[in-house]
Symmetry: C2
Subunit: 335 residues, 2 copies
């Protein structure tokens, strides 16, 4: 592998995967919870789910949110897609010398507001300051703990024919960040979809049986998220390209800049895999919620037996191609 | 207050206190756990203690440790002084583009080793990469959860005459970092005292009754730590300067650079306040453990009724002066 860290190591794609495998997992291998994303921990009669994320988004204020809001919604959503109700969050700030205290107040206010809205407590914090030029404004780590929903997920029950559903259109956060970065010369009125999804997710999971697994397709986009899922649980999946909801502004931005909407980050979407028989009921429940009003069925599980974990995309002209993890550079510091 | 963040906002002293009060607590005020250091959270029949810290120490490799070891010991110790047995830790990395993967492996290996030694699991992680010049090498956030020891602390029982004990000499981590920063021109063979203290602390708390409260005097040093404690629990405390163990090399470094050993960071020490009658028994238990072999009684609680929370230092010549929080700059990026 490489000798030095490149920006692509932080894109959530192939190189991030390699870094996790060859560096973090290599030395943390003796730890029981291998995936290193969210972990479930037995706690006497209960179980705790715990997850961590650092936020380095650039710019720190963007249409539809800021780094503070994102630091809450991102961690809340990681817990929710792990099948848990978020309970408490810690916040660690690394601030660059010279950073505006007014901006810091805006960010902290925005965190407090989103935490209140989401119904989670911010229970502990830490502040470090580094010299001018040793950080870029402010970085925030949030770590959350949550309690498993009563209704458990069944990833091991994933079977041929299971339905894949996305709760809404893809690419909004990615395009909002791109247009906020003036240097790209992209002008859109797209706002980030960043939102806390756990109330919505809890409602879906409580009312629909047969939910196998969920993910929030953030860094790396829908394609990378589903590739990871296929590999983790060893099934093949086929997406119907024409079924995937992509807003015109996302299409437009991708055409101009040469990006693929399936690799753009989302911060308020969830992708479900559900037993085929429950798909209709699930679509009803999802679409009755504001956060799921534009949900779509986008594909199905093709095979499970002897599957090596491949993601396929069926195009409108009838051809099928394999999708891989995001490889190389797309848009650094998206979250 | 100031308009912009200065390095002193990160020193753990007066300005850090102001920042927490005027920015973080202002907006997080509706949260139940006010101290924002470690928090205790009810969890059905149990209680969880949770704490977070980001590590930005410079240089990342120093005599006696590195940023990885420190990220484990620091969070382990925060849990232990809160009266809890560390159970699980998450790790969030922010890495500068171009950082050496070999160094990253060293750091991760050192974390894994210290976690194994301390008996805690690293259960979840996150990696972000920022452009060259947008961070300084690597920053690590660790967040830990723990379970309260059976023996509970009694900070509200603090009373006049209670004894203050420190587990060993002060200033070693501070001086080790200073001499690792070649630009200060300080040459010593001092190594950092950084160590996981929870086995030691659990042994003390289990075998000695009447332990009121404990703290690890890290950033801001023994003086700042005790000022915070006096203010939090509204008691006055008097230290005997000549009883405080200060290694010769620490004295020497402080003489040269104009620092005060009481404000230097420690990463492997704990200060206890204990009922006076238990102090002798406690010293026996502490001194029988390698991490407490050089422990000393250093002072006592002077008054509790109507106390406003002041820390005093009685000097060898018989005068007494008041000690305050660290104010202004001492040594940035000590942890």
């Amino acid at each position: 592998m490489a000798q030095r860290i490149s920006m692509a190591h932080g894109e959530g794609g192939e190189l991030t995967h390699e870094l996790i495998k060859n560096v973090f997992m290599k030395y943390f291998h003796n730890q029981t919870h291998a995936r290193l994303d969210a972990a479930i921990l037995p706690w006497n009669s209960n179980e705790i789910v715990m997850t961590t994320d650092s936020y380095v988004v650039k710019p720190i204020f963007f249409p539809g949110g800021d780094i503070g809001k994102l630091a809450i919604t991102g961690t809340v959503n990681d817990l929710a897609v792990s099948g848990a109700k978020p309970v408490a969050i810690t916040a660690g700030f690394i601030i660059e010398e010279g950073f505006s205290i007014r901006d810091l107040k805006e960010i902290v206010k925005s965190m407090a507001l989103e935490a209140e809205h989401a119904g989670v407590q911010i229970i502990a914090g830490d502040t470090k300051v580094v010299e001018r030029g040793s950080a870029d404004g402010v970085f925030i780590n949030t770590t959350g703990i949550g309690q498993l929903f009563e209704q458990r997920l069944e990833p091991d029950a994933i079977t041929e024919g299971d339905t894949v559903i996305i709760s809404g259109p893809v690419g909004e956060h990615g395009v909002a960040i791109m247009s906020a970065r003036k240097e790209l010369g992209l002008i859109t009125d797209m706002t980030s979809d960043c939102a806390s999804l756990h109330h919505f997710i809890e409602e879906v999971v409580t009312n629909v049986k047969g939910v196998r697994v969920m993910r929030d397709p953030t860094r790396g986009g829908l394609a990378t998220t589903l590739v990871e899922l296929c590999e983790d649980f060893r099934f093949d999946l086929e997406l119907e390209e024409s079924w995937i909801p992509v807003p015109d502004a996302v299409h437009g931005a991708c055409d101009i800049l040469g990006f693929d909407p399936l690799y753009l980050a989302n911060e308020g979407k969830v992708v479900f895999i559900v037993e085929a028989e429950q798909a209709k009921k699930m679509m009803e429940v999802i679409k009755s919620h504001p956060l799921g009003a534009s949900a779509q069925v986008i594909g199905r599980v093709k095979s499970c037996d002897n599957a090596s974990g491949k993601l396929y995309l069926k195009t409108p002209i009838g051809t099928t191609r394999r999708l891989f993890r995001l490889s190389g550079m797309l848009l650094p510091r998206i979250c």
